[in-house]
Each structure stands twice: as structure tokens, then as C-alpha cells.
Amino acid sequence: MKIKVTQEKLSKALNNISRIAIGKVTLPILNNVLIRVNKKKVSLITTNLDMAMIDFLPVSNSEEGVVTVPAKLLAEFISNLPKGEIVEISSSDTKVTISSGKYSSIINGALADDFPELPEINEKQAVTFKLSVEEFKNSLSQVIIASSNDLTRPALTGVYFNTYNHVLAIAATDGYRLAEKKLISKVESEVNAIIPSSSLQEVLRSVSDDVEEIEISFNDDLVRFRLGEIEIISKLIDASFPDYQRLIPKDCNITTVLNREELIRVTKLAALFARSVGGSIICETKKPDTFSVKSIANEFGENDSKIETTVDQTGKVNLNSRFLLDALNALEEPEISFSFSDRIAPILLKNKKDQKYTHIIMPLNS
């Protein structure tokens, strides 16, 4: 096996895929990256058995073969080499020689026999979508914040990709809040899959500026993302996602339009006083034109800020300030709508114009 490639390209690829090569104690070969040259095609592969990352590295010169090398070590070695040099990696048996200009080293690799076979997407049965990377990245970031890391409820530790009424939407919830984004409005095929948030985080990290389109293919228990020369394969979570459409309030008694920046500022102020009460703040509408955010901390004092808006009906709701801030930061437009009914029904946050993104938060008991 032999490849020749520029330091920048190799370093970028290795830094990206070596993140998931964090060894399982039980199978040390998972610490390694598999380098395979087959018919002039070079692939670098890592896996943690929940997902796999593959980089099809364009190289100038190659000889066939396959070997595995400790991924972190190789990534760090390559990234410390001078920029702009050509790196040559060659292997005989398990000895892997890396040379670049004046630098050279030999790393003890391992045979590729023990490296797991990776599952492949069955293209015939696959449901495939194409999206602009920019939109995918933004949408996913808006939704993934609401996913949970409570492993006892596996369904909530991922992002739910689902189709309804010919709309492809993604949603996530941790039981206290829920975020949904509609991605594509006219789709024919159907999909219902929960992708682990941890895999999606890796997808987000792998996005680079020079790739414009992302391709997502679903099988029954597998998903594949294609991002330029990078391919990410992940398991799906084998659980059923809550029927979340029912949770989104259909109509709310009280709706106000607020300036997003202003609401962020007053929420942050209120949060300072809400630390001792678990971040609980009180949002209140007062006729004719006041939206107030209040927080009380017995030992420090209290805070009461007002935003001017138009109010039709008075009401009051207690919220977790951190959840509210997360939601406000995920919204994009300067003006947003803040709707609620009473003190127990969830509140609904949306951009004023664009209706694709929905965020709901359960109120706190007051």
C-alpha cells in the first residue's frame, strides 16, 4: 500500500475522521484508521460501531493495499508536519512508513483482518434526499438543541426525520421542549427514522465550506450522509418517537409579536436573578402594551423588565430561562411570535414570517 498526498488534504481528512476512533477497550482495533487503496481509489475509514466515517481521499499516486494505523497518532503526526509538503505513506505488513521531506517515522499498525466490515446502504430500497448543506446545517442546529442525552429514553437521544403530508421534517425533544423544522415541502417518498444526535454532531462537524450539497439516504436501520468526499454511515435508533404533532398547540389564546434581540436581552437579565430558583422566570402580558419578564431571587433581589408590544389579552406563564434563550437563539428573524394559553399549556415560539421552524416549551409549575 502506498499513497502520496499533500499534507493539508491528509491532515484535514484525518483530523475529521479520527474523532470517532476513540477506543473501545474491548476491541482495540477501533482506535485505528483503515487505509485502503483499491483500484486507484483511496479510502480512510474509522468506526465506533454506532457510526462510521469514510473519507475518499483524492491522491496523486497510489499502490494497492490495506492497513490500519492508530488514528489519533497518525492524525497528530501529520498535522504537525510542515504545510505544503507532500506526504508519502507506505506499508509493508503492519509497519507503516510515513515520510515527508526531512521527516519520517515508522508506526506499528495492525492487520486489517480484524477491522469490522461496514454495513452498506441498499441503494434499491433507499430513500434519498438532497439538500443544500447550508440549509441542512442551519436547520439541524436549530433542532438538535432540543434532543436529550438521557440514555434511559433512547428515542429522545436523536433527531427524528419524518414525512407527513408530503413534507420532510426533523424534530427533537427532551420531554420539556420540542423543536421542529420543515426541510422539504414536496416529497413523494416516506421516511420515519431517528438518527442519534451524536452521529449528527459528527455530520455537522464534517461540513466544510467547499461542499454545497448533502445527500441523505435511509434504509430500515441505517442512514448514510454524503458530503463531497466524506461519507458518514450511522445506525438508527430502534425506538419509536413520540407522536409530537399532537403536542404542538393548534391555537393559543394569547399571541404577541416581540423583538427577538430585546427579548434575549431581558431574558438574560432575568436569568441572573433566577439562578437560585432553577432559572425560573415569569413572562406576563399586560394591557394595553406591555410584555414583562420578571424573576425573583429571595436573597439577591428581583428583576422586572418590560418590552413594548401590542397586547390583546392578559396572561402569565413561568418558564425555564435557559430553554427560552436556546429557543430565541435558534430563531432567526428580528421579530418573533410568542404564544401561550394558560399556565400549563406549552408556549409556542415561531419566526414572524417564516413558519418552517416551530419551538415549544413546557411551562414550569409556579
Partner: protein
Amino acid sequence: MYDVWKNALAEIEQQVSAANFSTWFQNTSLLSAEDGNIKIGVKNSFYVKQLRARYLEIIISALKNNNINVVNVEFEVSSSPKTKIKSREITKNQTSFKDRVKTLHLESKKNQLEYQNGLNDKYTLDNFVVGSNNDLAVSAAKSIIDAPGTRYNPFFLYGGPGLGKTHLVQAIGNELLKRNPNLKILYTPTSHFYSDFIEAIQNGKGKEFNRKFQKLDCLIIDDFQFIVNKEKSQEEFFNIFNDLYQLNKQIIVTSDRLPSQIKTVDERLASRLTWAGAFDLQLPKFEDKCAILRAKADLMGAEIEPEAIEYIAENVNTNIRDLEGEFSTILLMSEVRGLTPLELINNGSVSVNKISKIRPVSPKQIIEKVAKYFNLSVKEMCGKSRVSNIKNARQVAMFLLSKELSLSTNKIASEVGVKDHTTVMHGIKKIEKDLKLDFALRDQIEAIKEKIYG
């Protein structure tokens, strides 16, 4: 069907490396095997691919060897049925923790009445928590279950009280019996062994006693250290041991120390007992203790916060029995007071580590007894001499002052007449370290304690 898969796995285990086995085959299950259509449940699609690509042949041959008709093997992703958290049904007669404990007690009593082979089926390998403190012993135990009377024969297990010796050997017995109900197994504590023996001799039935043991396929003797000073019983045991060993029958012996450290045990016997190696159970580390408590909580169906578990694990440093005892107390208290365990701990209702033994002894008494035990005068011992036996006595005194009276190191320093507290700290640490390995020292300290309190 489950057992068939277990057998198949046992066979596969011998053909692939340990790392590969534990990665790929753990948490697999046999979902169905109708008309030769085998369905195997695995964790996710990565496992499907790997098993199909690399291990299909091995799986098929292992299944065939277990008399399963194989036409087609399929893999299916199924979140492993074993690890799934079971939702708990509370039946009417098991509504409160107290009742549950009561029924547990009743059940165990019933079992005790029924047993003839001495085995209590509440001890199983499944509820034995494996950690770094006992993994060697457990893996040896597993290989005994797979092939009794071969590699680890006799199986000698030792360790301090309350670390699970009885549990592990009983579990071996139960598991062997489960695999083959026709096996003749006998579990007997050493005390029963010699009292039965004495009775048999008195009734002139010594030979029958011997014959009863010779028929066994597996003999489990618990707490062998009690054989001390029972020379006749020892001789009888030696004979039985030899007979069984000749016939390749499994012999399992537990003790709180190595045979060579049990006084008056014949050297011939001592060396025979450790022929196949001696396995020790050590004090669990913090993580192991947490795991034990969690397993216990699951078993009882009790709810307890992780923080509370950590608190108990951190503060009980004696043995697993004490650990479980504290745990049960706290659960009971939480049931009675209507607070969660963590709330109880936070409001100071329970304080695990403050169970100090208040006994009417003074530092002076301890120092005198230690000096006397080592044949030194108090003045000599508490002097500046650095002769090794005097120094050692001094360190034992410091150790006992600290453990028995919980004196501060400064106070101990002034009592024993050393320069400062760091010397004391060093002394105590040294004794603690030595205690782990040096059984003679353990005996010495026990003897001194007896003198102090006796």
C-alpha cells in the same frame, strides 16, 4: 431456546478472540428458529454486517452442533432484550419496601427448608456483580461451570468476610445443577462437615460418611479456616479430597486465607488445595461498589438516586455485606420517613461513616497491651529506638489508636511519643498496606484486639 443460543455462544467463544467475542456476540439473542429459519437479534446494523461477513460460518456450525436445523440465518436489529429496563409491576401484596423485604425473607426461609444439597438458589452468577476485584475468580468459576473437574480442580477461593465467597461458590453449584440436574452436588460449611463427621463416628458410621462423599460429582466446602485444630476431620477431608480428585470430580474450597496460613493444616493438604491456583476476592473499588449497589437496587425494585449510591459506596469501606446492610437500612428508612434516600443523606438523618465503635478503652490501655504483646515496656516502645521490631510495634500501636479510637494523628503522635503527625500517618499507612498481604500481621492485630477488649 435461549439456552441453545448460550451453548452455541460458548462454542463460538472458543473459536474467536476474546475481544472479538465480547464486541460482536455479547448482547446477541436468538429470536426464533422455526423450520431452520434462524433469526438472531443484534445491536445495530453495524453488527449485522460484521456477523454476516465474518462469522456466519462459525454461527451456523455452532448451531448445527447444538442440533438446530439451519436453513437460513437472518440478523435483525433488536435493542437487546436483556439490558432493557423492565417496567416494574407492583402487585397488591408487594406494595411497600417492607413487604418486599418480608417476602424475600420468607422465600429464602422456604428455600432453606427445602434444601438437601445445601444450595440456595438465590445465589446465581447473574446477580453476582463482576468487577476488577473479582473478575479472575469469576472467569475461573465460569470455566468450571463449562467443564467441571478439569482445569481448575481443586478451585480454591479466598478473601475476607463478606466479599462474596459463599455467593460465588453457591452460584457455581446452582449453575452446574441447572446445566445438568442429575449431578450430585453438596455444599457444606466446614462447621457442618466436622459436626456431621463427629456424629458419624459416634454412631459408628464413619465409613458411610466417607461413602456419602465419594458419590458426589462436586463438593463445595465453605469457610475452610474453621478446620483449625480439628485434626481428625482434616484427615477425613484429606481422604475424601484424594478420592474425589482421583475420579476427576470437582472440588471447591473457600477460606478467608491461604491454606498455608491456616494454623495446624497439614502441609500435604495445604499444597494440594492450591494445586490449581488460589483465587482471591478483594475489596471492591469505588466503581465496583456503585455497580453492586445499583444491581441490588434493581433486584429489590427500589429507587435510589445515583448520588446516594455514590455516597454509600464512598463511605463504606469494610466489605460488601456491610455495604448491602447500609443500603438496606437507608432504603427502609426512606420508606418509613417518606423521603428519598438522597434527601435523608443530605439532611443528615443517616451518616454511614460515623458508625464509630464507642468502646470504653483509653489510648493508654491500647499502648500498654500492644507493648505487652510485643514483649516491650511502654517506655521502650514509645521511645526513639529505630530497631525494627520496636518500630513495628510502635506502628501497630498507632494503627490501633487511629482505627479503634479515631484519634487525630497529632494526638496519636503525642501519645506514642513521636515527633509529628506525618510519622504517624506514615506508620498507619504502612500497616494498612501490609495488612493486605501479611496474614501473620492480621492475626497479630486480631490477637491484640482480643486482649484489649477481652
